[in-house]
Structure formats: structure tokens, C-alpha cells
């Protein structure tokens, strides 16, 4: 408990986390701290373990050792839905929506738990005003109101990515983790997605994995650089830009 009090300021606190698959250590001694309300980007070369880090924090996989705290409480070892109910929500690098359901129903499903309707089988889902309003609001936010009755599997790629973000924020989580939200998007689509992310995560803690450096440096308050499952540097964009270790390991070509 004393530890929890001392870390009160951190939304996410990763301490000495290790993940091994068999003999292969994917994540080694990972330490990461994300403050409340911060926009934190994780960058690193391919195969550095960025998505694995996301999976470890969100409960998708369990760490071999070490601990993860969310708002001071230990969450490592909990299951994904338990972590989600504590206010952490994540998106996926590969679009991961409910393909046969309409856009409207995709977002509505993501609203249901947070509005307290849970597993209810005695309520008509169409006559829950707060669910309807919140769903309509989020569809409006992600600019998909005109596509509300289209099955999610039939959306364009960029629209699916936007829906992915919509589902992620729909539950009202205070900590939002986005895994390469602009991957595969055109420049115009990326700009749109970035302003969308900026607007929707206002007042929330954001952790983002991203390859596009203009997105990272435009969006993030702080950046952590992950190389071979280990964080080699953590700091403001300016500090990261100047850090010689980062230049050497990762930014080298892009910085010059």
C-alpha cells in the first residue's frame, strides 16, 4: 500500500517486467512510467517488443516476472476484462472489430459495460437512452454517423481504423492505449486520425505506439524508446531527439 501511495501520480507504472517465450526473452527488465493525463509514445524498431509491451499492460499476456500498476493498483496477472473495467482500454494494430455487426452496434457494445448494463437480459437494448446518446455521440466524434447501419466488415480500411478508436474510447476509460492507429493510412487520413486522437483523448492518459515520427513528435508529451525489449531512453520529444543512445539505436537515419 505504501508503494501505491508513493506512485499516486502515475497512471501506468511498469516495474522490472520480463516476458520470456520459452528461452527467448522478448521483454527484459522493462521499466516505464506514464503520468496522469500524459500523452506518451512508445517508439522503437520493428521487433523491439512494442506490441508485446501493450499486450503485457492490457492483460492480453501475463508477464513472466515484474509488476504492472494502473493508478497505483497492481494489475499484472488480471485478465483483460478485469483491467478494462478498472479504466484501461486499448486498440489493436490489426483491425479488430465485430465484422458482422453494424457500426452502430460495434460502438454500442463497447458502451454497454461502462453504462452498467453488463449481462442484462431483461432490458431492451434499444430503449436505453444513455446508451443511445453515448453511442450517437461517439459515432459523431469518429465521423461515422452516416455509416451507422453498415456492417463493420464492409467499411473501408481507414473507416475501420476510426471505428477501432471509437470502440476503444467508447467505454470512457481514463487510460487509452492505441497500437499504431495510423498504420497503413494516407497522409490526409493520418492527419485526420491525429486530430481525432488529440480531441478524443483530451483529459485522458494516452499511450501510443507509432511508426510515423511526425505523428509521434506532434502528439506526444513524452517518448520512450524501446530496443530489444528494453527501454533505453524516456523523456520529452526534445530530450529524445538529442539523446545520443537513441540516435545510435534508432533515430539515426531519420534524424539526419
Amino acid at each position: 500500500m505504501s508503494g501505491a501511495v508513493s506512485e499516486k501520480g502515475a497512471a501506468i507504472e511498469v516495474r522490472a517486467v520480463e516476458k520470456r517465450f520459452g528461452n527467448v526473452g522478448i521483454i527484459r527488465d522493462l521499466n516505464l512510467s506514464v503520468a496522469q493525463g500524459e500523452r506518451h509514445a512508445i517508439i522503437g524498431p520493428n521487433g523491439a517488443g512494442k506490441s508485446t509491451t501493450f499486450n503485457l499492460i492490457s492483460g492480453h499476456i501475463k508477464p513472466t516476472s515484474g509488476e504492472v500498476r494502473l493508478n497505483g493498483d497492481v494489475i499484472s496477472g488480471l485478465r483483460p476484462f478485469e483491467i478494462n473495467r478498472r479504466g484501461l482500454s486499448r486498440s489493436f494494430q490489426v483491425t479488430n472489430v465485430f465484422a458482422r455487426m453494424t457500426v452502430w452496434e460495434n460502438v454500442r457494445c463497447a458502451v454497454l459495460w461502462a453504462t452498467g448494463h453488463r449481462y442484462a437480459f431483461w432490458k431492451n437494448v434499444d430503449s436505453l437512452p444513455e446508451v443511445r446518446e453515448r453511442t450517437a455521440q461517439i459515432l459523431d466524434d469518429i465521423h461515422l454517423t452516416h455509416r451507422r447501419d453498415v456492417p463493420a466488415g464492409l467499411l473501408t480500411y481507414a473507416e475501420q481504423r476510426e471505428l477501432e478508436i471509437g470502440i476503444t474510447i467508447a467505454g470512457g476509460a481514463t487510460v487509452v492505449m492505441l497500437d499504431e492507429p495510423t498504420a497503413g493510412m494516407s497522409h490526409a487520413e493520418t492527419d485526420r486520425a491525429v486530430s481525432l486522437i488529440r480531441r478524443l483523448t483530451e483529459g485522458k492518459t494516452l499511450v501510443i505506439v507509432e511508426h510515423d515520427m511526425s505523428v509521434v513528435f506532434g502528439l506526444a508529451d513524452r517518448i520512450s524508446v524501446l530496443v530489444y525489449g528494453h527501454i533505453i531512453a524516456s523523456g520529452t520529444p526534445e530530450e529524445i531527439r538529442r539523446d545520443p543512445k537513441v540516435k545510435e539505436a534508432y533515430l539515426g537515419e531519420e534524424a539526419h
Binding site: 476484462f81 465484422a99 458482422r100 455487426m101 457494445c109 448494463h117 431483461w122 467505454g171
Partner: protein, 430 residues
């Protein structure tokens, strides 16, 4: 903010506009159930209607698993059978103890029988979906079916448990001796169960079941435990299968091991899949068609199961959405007003397709009846299975029919593409 409010009010307008049509469909169905036995009042048709009613409840309960939650069960008849046994035992207990429970309440106890077993066995079964669930359901099905022959005190061994529905207290002067009264009892429970199961699809649990079907991984990241969702869906499916079993027990006045066996489980899978799992009404169509075919074909030919298999394979290969899927494919065309461009190609295709089907039937019947020499009667024309003329006719119909039919099907596909493109251009999503 303004957009949000307008879209919300549009939702409200949509639902109120569609609600009139929505309720009229339900009322039409109920009216049909009431009127049907007055038009077809023979004993045979009453029996058929009763069986179809039971099959519909059973198939709809199965679709809670297959269509709504994405769980493929090979042992759904376990709940149906246990519901039947529970109903029989309850009826006998009511009679021997003189409890004031009239017959119309008995299907509820059937449902409880199916539910209790689902509650007990379901938590372990639904831990995993997919192949694991399918295999466990198969195992449980065999386990219960074989136990039913061993545990004689509960299941009555080979002969099963018999009961007398007329011995229960009368309700509104109805003894439920005549088949007509039993039919109305089944129709009543059919309406009740159908409304309840439809309502279930419109609840938070129903929608989350769909989400679990589509993507169980993602569901975990919006706060839901897919295991709990699957378990609850399994319990509901068990309950309504038990209701169907209870209705069957009332109809036949017996419950035996055949109720919970693999054949019964296969039957409900067939009905549901042939009808179409993607739409709520799909299993209703499937149950009507499969029950009717089963009753009709069994009188006509000894090879009826073969036809059954052919129909099933045909649906799986050419129309995985079932009959409901085929029908609903036409909805965008109807809305866009381009359906009429497709119909001529359908009409052209009817003749060669029928010829091909007749050829297949003739071939199967020739093989099936060759040793007995029993004559084949195909649409009033007599064929001798031992005569070379029959063989030539069959060969010509199969080869010629298939050749011309394929050409005509290509025509359909082209006409269809044109019509669908126009429909898409007019903004109706297929």
C-alpha cells in the same frame, strides 16, 4: 452536438416507422397459427403442425448457440431430451400427488429440466468456443444418451417413461385428449418462446453474444468475459430446448432415449443451418421445411435420408446463409426496384434445373429399388427400375439437365450482378 441529436431523433423515427410493420408480422404469424387447423383439420395435418411447432422452438433454441453466439453444438438434444423426461416425471407426479397443476404449465418444467443441466454442465463446456466446445458437446451428448439406457429408474431404460396427459387437472374445460387441443397448447408455447427468444436478441446480453460470436478476443477489451457470455447463452438455449422437449413429451405422452441421441442433435443442426443462422426467422423456415420433408419424404421413398443429405450439402456449398440468407439477398434489389430484371432468368432456369433434379431422383430411386423391382412414380409418370429405358431417361436428364442448367445459372449470375450494381449505386447495401 447538433448532429448527434439529429441522428438520435432519426433512430426514434426509424423505430416508430418500422414498428407497425414489425408488429403486423408477429400478429400475422399468430393469426396463421390460430386459423391453420381450421383450414387443414385432418388428423394427419394436425400431427404435422404439432411436430413443426415443437421443431421450431427447438431450432430457435439451437440458434441461440449457433447463430447468436457462434457455438457449434453436436449435443443440443441432451437438453431437449432431459426437458422431455422432466416433463414426463412432472406429469406423473402431478397425477399421483394430485397437485393442482394443469397441463399447459408442464412445458415450463421441461424448460427447467433443460436449464438445470445446462447450469451444471455449461460452465465447464463454455470455457472454450470453437472445436473444443463442439467436441465436448459431442462427448456430453453420447454420455447422456448412453446413461439414459443404464439409469433405468430415471430414464426407464429402452421403453422410456410413459405418461397420460389427460389425467392432469383440466383447464378451462380442456382435457387435452384431442390432438387439436394439444396443437393449440403447442402453438401457445411456440408463440411465447418465440417472443421470449426474439426479445433475448434485443437485450444487452443478446448483443454481446453477437460480439462474442464475431470476435471473442476483442470482447475482453470492452469489459466482458466471453466465458460468462457463452455460459449465459448456453443456459438460455438449454431452457428453451427443454421447453421443446416438454412439448414433445406432452405430444407423444412418452420420453425415451431417442429424445436425447445424436440423431435428434443432428436434426436440429440440419433444421437450423438449412433455414439460415444469420436471421432470427431462419431456423423457423428450416424447422418447417425439414420437419415437413421428413414426414413427407419418409412416406414416398426409403432413401429419404439420402435426399436430406443432398439438400444439406447443397445448402452448405451454394448458400451458406441458408434459405433465410437466400431470401434476404433479394432485399436490396426489392428496395432498389431492380428485382424484376432478375426474375426472367430465374424462370428460364426453372425448367433445366427441374429436369436435372428429376434425373438425380430417378437415378437414386433406380439404384434404391433395383433389387425389389418396385415401380417409381415420378410426377405421375411410372418408371421400372429394371428397364434400360429408365436408365437412359435418367442419364439424359442428369447430363442434359446439368449442362443446360449451368448455362441458365450463369445467366442468373449475370442478371444478378447487373441488378445488384444498380442497387448499390442507388445506395442499398447488399
Amino acid at each position: 452536438m447538433t448532429t448527434a441529436t439529429t441522428s438520435t431523433s432519426k433512430v426514434a423515427a426509424d423505430t416508430s416507422g418500422g414498428s407497425l410493420r414489425f408488429y403486423s408480422v408477429w400478429l400475422l404469424g399468430i393469426a396463421a397459427l390460430i386459423v391453420l387447423p381450421m383450414i387443414f383439420s385432418s388428423g394427419g395435418s394436425l400431427t404435422s403442425f404439432s411436430l413443426i411447432g415443437i421443431a421450431i422452438v427447438f431450432a430457435l433454441s439451437y440458434n441461440i448457440l449457433l447463430g447468436q453466439t457462434g457455438l457449434l453444438s453436436f449435443g443440443h438434444a441432451v437438453h431437449y431430451g432431459l426437458g422431455g423426461f422432466a416433463a414426463c416425471h412432472m406429469m406423473n407426479a402431478v397425477v399421483s400427488h394430485g397437485w393442482p397443476i394443469p397441463l399447459p404449465f408442464i412445458p415450463l418444467f421441461g424448460g427447467l429440466g433443460g436449464l438445470i443441466f445446462a447450469v451444471i454442465i455449461g460452465w465447464v463446456m463454455t470455457k472454450r468456443a470453437g472445436t473444443v466446445f463442439a467436441m465436448i458437446s459431442l462427448g456430453i451428448g453420447e454420455l447422456v444418451a448412453s446413461s439414459s439406457l443404464i439409469l433405468r429408474s430415471v430414464f426407464g431404460g429402452e421403453s422410456g417413461i410413459t405418461t397420460d396427459r389427460t389425467a392432469l387437472p383440466k383447464m378451462l374445460g380442456w382435457s387435452f385428449g384431442p390432438q387439436l387441443q394439444v396443437y393449440y397448447l403447442i402453438a401457445f408455447w411456440l408463440v411465447l418462446s418465440t417472443i421470449a427468444m426474439y426479445a433475448l436478441t434485443r437485450t444487452p446480453l443478446g448483443r454481446i453474444s453477437n460480439a462474442v460470436r464475431d470476435n471473442p478476443e476483442r470482447v475482453q477489451f470492452i469489459g466482458y468475459d466471453p466465458h460468462v457470455v457463452r455460459y449465459l447463452a448456453f443456459c438460455f438455449a438449454g431452457f428453451f430446448a427443454g421447453v421443446a422437449g416438454g412439448l414433445a413429451a406432452i405430444n407423444f405422452e412418452i420420453a425415451n432415449s431417442a429424445y436425447l441421441g445424436a440423431i435428434q442433435s443432428g436434426f436440429v443442426l440440419f433444421s437450423t443451418f438449412i433455414g439460415g443462422t444469420a436471421y432470427f426467422f431462419g431456423p423457423i423456415l428450416g424447422a418447417i421445411m425439414v420437419t415437413y420433408l421428413q414426414l413427407g419424404l419418409a412416406n414416398l421413398t426409403s432413401a429419404w435420408q439420402l435426399y436430406f443429405g443432398i439438400i444439406f450439402i447443397g445448402i452448405v456449398m451454394f448458400s451458406p446463409g441458408g434459405i433465410a440468407g437466400l431470401l434476404m439477398m433479394h432485399r436490396p434489389l426489392v428496395r432498389a426496384g431492380t428485382l424484376w430484371t432478375v426474375i426472367p432468368s430465374y424462370l428460364v432456369a426453372v425448367v433445366p434445373t427441374l429436369a436435372f433434379a428429376c434425373g438425380v431422383i430417378l437415378t437414386i430411386e433406380t439404384v434404391a429399388r433395383y433389387s425389389t423391382g418396385e415401380a417409381i412414380n415420378l410426377f405421375g409418370i411410372g418408371f421400372k427400375p429394371t428397364s434400360p429405358i429408365t436408365w437412359i431417361a435418367a442419364a439424359v436428364l442428369v447430363v442434359g439437365g446439368a449442362f443446360i442448367a449451368r448455362l441458365s445459372w450463369r445467366q442468373i449470375a449475370e442478371a444478378w450482378d447487373r441488378a445488384a450494381t444498380i442497387a448499390r449505386d442507388r445506395g442499398y447495401v447488399a
